[in-house]
């Protein structure tokens, strides 16, 4: 495999890891108004993701940075074509990030309600729009030979795009509910776990619809039918989601959380593998599509970046695993910062 193709899959992996890590903190943010019946519950929910959301968000930054570094033309076209959705994602991430830190700083109910609303909206927008954006990338986007986007934000809201957004929201909610139940005790833990149970069939249904609609709305399956062994990836995604059900039955939120994360990674990879070698397929003409050949950086840059990734990504995983281990149990009174 050539260097640009290696980077294509690393690029997919970075996004997938962001969805699997940032996914549960976005999910928790969306769940806060519904699961937090009392002020104590809400504080526990905020503190449950408090130590980790910032580190998780760097996966998004790295995924964006790698798009820029390894596929600069793709970065340029993707981010300007998806201008408004991307800005809405940024606005969402901004208000939810500060909401975590700010909500506990004053005791007035109005103050807390405001920031809880920011947490909800600021978590929902990125989850939904990232889903819409990636579904559109899995399908195709009306870009011309100069990389100019011929459409409006409504162009992206196709049934397939909307389903992608919905799937992301549901999967993140599921993922978030398990994280909250493993980081809480008593009624809150039960409520979170029950929510996971209720969400699971919805997630399964959404995932099945997405696979089905992918067949009609995209060319993703062309690659799979050419290399049937690759079909193991979507099958594994479904298997991972079924494993979630197994651990739901065993009342084990930790393992259910691990498998919901794996489901998200595999769902992302289902699309990424199907896209290869395109990063942005043009719906106007295949000649305008950006792929690993015409969209990538020079071999020198790709090689240096590969060296950097080979050294630092394992290190990052090691210290993030350590950080997760520290906080992998119910939130206690004296380790609340918010």
């Amino acid at each position: 495999m050539d260097l640009a193709s290696v980077w294509f899959f690393l690029w997919g992996l970075l996004w997938a890891v962001y969805f699997a890590t940032g996914g549960f903190d976005l999910g928790a943010g969306m769940l806060l108004p519904f699961l937090g019946k009392s002020e104590e519950d809400k504080a526990v929910i905020a503190n449950a993701v408090g130590p980790l959301w910032d580190g998780n968000e760097v996966w998004l930054l790295t995924a964006g940075g790698v798009t820029f570094a390894a596929f600069p033309t793709v970065y340029a076209v993707m981010f300007s074509a998806l201008y408004l959705p991307l800005m809405l994602i940024l606005f969402g991430l901004i208000i939810r990030g500060v909401a975590f830190e700010f909500r506990g700083k004053k005791d007035s109910p109005g103050w807390k309600r405001t920031w809880d609303a920011c947490l909800f909206v600021g978590s929902l927008l990125p989850a939904l729009l990232l889903g819409v954006a990636f579904a559109n990338l899995f399908a195709s986007v009306p870009i011309d030979g100069g990389g100019i986007f011929h459409g409006t934000i409504l162009t992206l809201l196709t049934p397939y795009g909307l389903l992608g957004g919905l799937l992301f929201v549901v999967l993140f909610l599921l993922h978030g509910s398990f994280w909250l139940s493993l980081r809480s005790e008593g009624e809150l833990r039960d409520r979170a776990f029950k929510t996971g149970k209720l969400l699971w069939p919805v997630a399964l249904f959404a995932a099945a619809c997405f696979l089905l609609l992918s067949y009609f709305s995209t060319d993703l399956f062309a690659r799979y039918f050419a290399h049937p062994v690759l079909l193991l990836v979507p099958l594994a995604a479904v298997a991972a989601l079924l494993m979630v059900r197994v651990y739901l039955k065993k009342e084990s939120p930790g393992m259910a959380w691990a498998f919901s994360g794996l489901t998200i990674v595999l769902c992302t990879f289902f699309g990424v593998i199907g896209m290869y070698p395109n990063l942005i397929a043009s719906s106007l003409s295949p000649d305008f599509s950006l792929n690993v050949t015409n969209g990538s950086s020079s071999p020198l840059t790709l090689l240096i970046m590969l060296g950097v990734a080979a050294v630092f990504v394992p290190l990052v995983i090691a210290y993030q695993a350590w950080a997760y281990k520290i906080f992998f149990h119910p939130v206690q009174k004296d380790d609340m910062h918010y």
Partner: protein
């Protein structure tokens, strides 16, 4: 207004706002780390209380810095896609390395630090804040290397219609970057030192927790003295380097129009770019510009008229921001020296304390002036000598840029108001427990 102007406004708002929070992160992290280290060494609970109190303010500042930084990474793609396409091969990798090698560490360990007081041993907890401090400076290093490439591109070849990386080491070790790093990071220490001294002064004026805030003030004073002297001296070498690398910027900084030997500096100037001369100039210091730029009073310094009108930066902006920044730099040195003289009589020096209180915003202003000067002084280029800013903007409708710019203004305005008022409230409350 067109997309170009709006995009420039949006970028200016986004960077200047982000850089209200970065400098304090760079310096206060070090001060908090020193406080916690003192606690681990001496077990004096006052040091622990200091680390917790300043740490609490640090975290409010940190989170606003984080969320506004994310915007910037994506701005290049959203608003400057032609630029991104042209230099992504070099510039993109620097941003990606920043995230991978520095920002990950900073963001992961800040969570462990904030939530891990009871979960880690005091020593391990202290190591976390040192790593946060180190990683935030390292983050700044990579971003500044990327900016230095825009100011003075090296280590690239033009191939396939874009700038491609030819020599990575040349990019990351170039003198322009090193000088920029040595100026910018210590300027964050000046901000932080004045922040800590100013808040401590507020409490000392009220005779609040005198021992606690005297200690804090003195820690700030050490950092403030060293950093303000260093930034000032270092700034000289940076300006001298411009004589060779960005002569138009240097000429604009001093509103110097005519190429001449024994070039003077005027203490006060009011440039008139339309007529390519100064409308007003006072207090001529002959030969000083030649001396500063080339370390030789007889050296010839290129004037602005040497450059075609369309390749001159907006002179009055560059000139004014530069002069104000230098005046402020002098003030930082004078006031810290004054504090050194009164260091053992702080509570008996209300005028000094008040001066420090009101000086809290000044280093922030100096940082903003410095960035405006550096970036406006590079105009009309986005990458000096290689690409014009007007050729760099994304092909997006102006109305989209306009809407989002208004969005940023409102959002950042609210965020700044809330963030700074929370920092002020926390600061006024003083140490808890």
């Amino acid at each position: 207004m067109n997309a170009l102007l709006l995009s420039r406004m949006q970028f200016a708002v986004a960077t200047l706002f982000h850089f209200l929070f970065v400098p304090l992160t760079l310096g206060l992290s070090i001060l908090v780390a020193v406080m916690e280290t003192q606690y681990v060494r001496t077990r004096d609970p006052e040091y622990l209380a200091m680390a917790k109190f300043w740490g609490k303010i640090f975290l409010i500042n940190f989170v606003v810095g984080v969320v506004t930084g994310i915007t910037l990474e994506f701005q290049f793609g959203t608003n400057w896609s032609r630029y991104s396409h042209f230099v992504g091969d070099v510039f993109g990798s620097l941003l990606a390395i920043e995230a991978t090698a520095a920002f990950f560490l900073e963001s992961t360990l800040i969570g462990v630090w904030a939530f891990g007081w009871k979960k880690l041993s005091p020593k391990a907890h202290m190591v976390c804040i040192w790593l946060v401090a180190g990683a935030s400076s390292l983050s700044a290093v990579w971003i500044l290397i990327a900016n230095a490439f825009m100011q003075h591109p090296v280590g690239y070849v033009i191939r396939n219609g874009r700038a491609e990386l030819a020599d990575f080491l040349a990019v990351v070790t170039q003198k322009f970057a090193i000088l920029e790093i040595l100026h910018t990071i210590p300027s964050g220490w000046v901000v932080s030192a004045f922040f800590v001294m100013g808040i401590s002064a507020w409490h000392l004026l009220r005779k609040n927790k005198v021992s606690f805030f005297t200690r804090s003030f003195k820690m700030g004073l050490v950092m403030g003295l060293v950093a303000s002297l260093f930034v000032f001296a270092e700034g000289h070498f940076q300006a001298a380097d411009l004589a060779e690398k960005q002569p138009a910027k240097l000429a604009a900084m001093d509103a110097h129009w005519e190429t001449e030997a024994r070039a003077p500096i005027y203490l006060f100037t009011w440039p008139d770019q339309d007529n390519q001369k100064n409308a007003l100039e006072f207090i001529r210091l002959p030969g000083l510009l030649s001396l500063m730029a080339f370390h030789d009073v007889n050296a010839t310094v290129r004037g602005l008229r040497d450059f075609p009108r369309e390749e001159q930066p907006p002179v009055w902006v560059v000139n004014l921001t530069f002069k104000l920044m230098v005046f402020l730099g002098v003030w930082f040195i004078l006031i810290t020296l004054w504090a050194v003289l009164r260091r053992n009589k702080l509570t008996e020096s209300p005028l000094l304390l008040k001066s420090f209180l009101y000086s809290i915003p000044l280093p922030y202003v100096a940082c903003a002036l410095g960035w405006i000067m550096a970036e406006m002084g590079r105009q009309p280029w986005i990458v000096y000598g290689l690409m014009k800013t007007s050729d760099a903007v994304s092909p997006v409708p102006a109305v989209h840029v306009g809407i989002t710019t208004v969005g940023f203004l409102i959002l950042y305005g609210l965020l700044g108001a809330v963030g700074f008022s929370l920092m002020a409230t926390t600061a006024k409350q003083g140490p808890q427990e």
